[in-house]
Amino acid sequence: MANRAVCRRIALGMIIGVISALAIAPAGAGPIALELLEPRYRESVFEGWRSFQTSFASDGVACIHCHPRHAEMEDWAPSYPKAAVFDGTPYRVKGLAEVVGEALAIHTDLPPNRRDLLVGDLVSFIAWWGSGTAIKATPPRSTPAGDMALLHAAEQRGRELFETALECTHCHAIRKESRKGSPLASAAARFPRHVTEAGMVLPLTGFLRWHLKTHGISLRDEVALTDLAAFLTRLSEGEIYWPGTRERKGAGK
């Protein structure tokens, strides 16, 4: 009788462990279950999902028409910032939000202010599809040498901004084991997320702009913000991408 009770407890513990492990979603197991997302980020994901499948163009075409397999988006968010170019746009390192904005400019008939309203939620949706995979700050081998060089230069400029121009090291450590301030080793893997103090869901570059402003620094240059984001993403290389969360969850590197 006692043995049966023990067996039942062990079995129950194993079942709970398996369910928890599935809920935490180890790397590569697909996006985080929607019910596990922070509620306001989840709302942003739903809005982005709706926009992704709605046409804002006179030809009736929506994002889903040319990107019909959601699973293809798994690699997108965790690989930004990176060098990206559309025909007629600048060839440089860009964050996902900037690329989505350029895509909307090309493929919709919306004016700039309306496009801007869609970008945040679309980024939330795309980022959610990349959740559970590892941050890929190093592009694949088939990436052009020119793109690699641009990314490397952006990361270097970002580091200089972090350490020298903006003096972030006063409050933030780079390495996890440092005792100073809050370590940023996995910060980039948590965005976009709802920022309580800002009252909205922000991508990494948007958060940096807001965060610097709270410290009296007005940095509107998109290139500089992207450089900073590139440096922070390099620090998070290999971390499991878990947007919409503040704390690190699941297996790390």
């Binding site: 739903f46 999902w49 075409v61 889903i64 019909p68 959601h70 293809e72 025909d87 007629g88 090309i106």
Partner: protein, 329 residues
């Protein structure tokens, strides 16, 4: 002393010359072949062409090209480096990718291209002519290009897959480098065969606009009847296409791609949306509480609902297939 200085200078200059030669030897260009697969979203092999730019994507320096036949392409390039690779097929949007080609690399690239969702908005070409300059040996290629929305891109191209080349045609008027929308009208390019006999039947002509819509690919005799089809006419490519599957099996795949993230097909419990097991055996839908009819389910799929995004892109036969699958649950 003076002789020694002169000798030293000569030796130094000789050394510099030798170093240049060694560098040149190190930079000797070794031809490389790249290859790849191009499939439709349903996994069917595509027929079309590829065109490659030298350097970064959208450098507008189109030089090389090749066939995409039975979903496969293979193009010879002069050296390793960065290239912009474009895939074109009639009825499909064009697919641009920045690639790095390595001398000892695998150099294999795989693409999936979706169909053009707005064929009536694609650009078109007409009046394709060739004029030989007997003295120079060059051939002037001329055509008319137009786009119904005025957003023609720089990609008005002539591709000769047999010769492995591609060329960009230019408009008559001057175009600033930053201009995105190219004008409708006449486009020309001069092609120097360089010893290879000129054969108009080898050429494929196409245009793409700034929304990625591709014109029909035109091959000789360049009439509306000579549009290059994007799929093989026979099924010698092998394998079962999506269209060969039963309707419910097609629907199952559509369900997996679009619906399964929120709906269980094999139970009634809620995932994000309600489980759909036995849906068509119920009187009313689980959330709205409206009668379960084909019309109501189709409307739900097209328009979405409170938390459900619209799926108006699942239409026509694909919607029929999805409904056929839902009825098996």
């Amino acid at each position: 002393m003076k002789v020694c200085r002169i000798a030293l200078l000569v030796a130094f200059l000789t050394l510099c010359a030798c170093e240049d030669k060694r560098e040149d030897a190190g930079k000797r260009k070794i031809p490389i072949r790249i290859s790849g697969r191009v499939l439709s979203v349903n996994g069917d092999p595509i027929r079309g062409v590829v065109a490659l730019e030298k350097g970064r994507l959208y450098s507008k320096d189109y030089r090389w090209g090749g066939w995409v036949k039975d979903g496969a392409f293979s193009v010879r390039l002069p050296e390793e480096g960065d290239y912009g690779l474009h895939v074109y097929a009639t009825g499909y949007i064009y697919h641009p990718t920045a690639i790095r080609v390595e001398e000892r690399g695998e150099n294999f690239f795989k693409f999936t291209v979706p169909p053009n969702p707005a064929p009536e908005d694609a650009p078109s070409l007409s009046h394709i002519e060739f004029r030989k300059d007997e003295d120079e040996g060059a051939v002037l290629i001329r055509l008319q290009a137009k786009d119904p929305n005025g957003n023609l891109s720089h990609q008005v191209l002539a591709v000769n897959p047999e010769a492995g080349i591609s060329r960009m045609l230019s408009p008559d008027s001057f175009i600033f480098p930053w201009v995105k929308n190219y004008p409708d009208g006449e486009y020309t390019a001069t092609y120097a065969p360089e010893g290879r006999p000129f054969n108009r039947e080898e050429w494929i002509f196409l245009a793409a606009d700034n929304r990625c819509y591709t014109s029909p690919l035109l091959q000789y005799p360049f009439s509306p009847d000579s549009i290059m089809a994007s799929h093989a006419e026979t099924k010698d490519a092998g394998g079962n296409g999506f269209g060969d599957l039963s309707l419910p099996e097609q629907g199952r795949r559509i369900f997996q791609d679009n619906c399964a993230v929120c709906h269980h097909p094999d139970r009634t419990e809620t995932k994000i949306g309600p489980g759909l097991k036995g849906l068509f055996g119920r009187e009313r839908t689980p959330v709205e509480g409206i009668p379960v009819t084909d019309e109501n389910i189709r409307r739900r799929i097209e328009n979405g609902g409170d938390k459900m995004p619209p799926y108006s892109h699942i239409e026509g036969e694909r919607q029929d297939a999805l409904l056929a699958y839902l009825k098996t649950l």
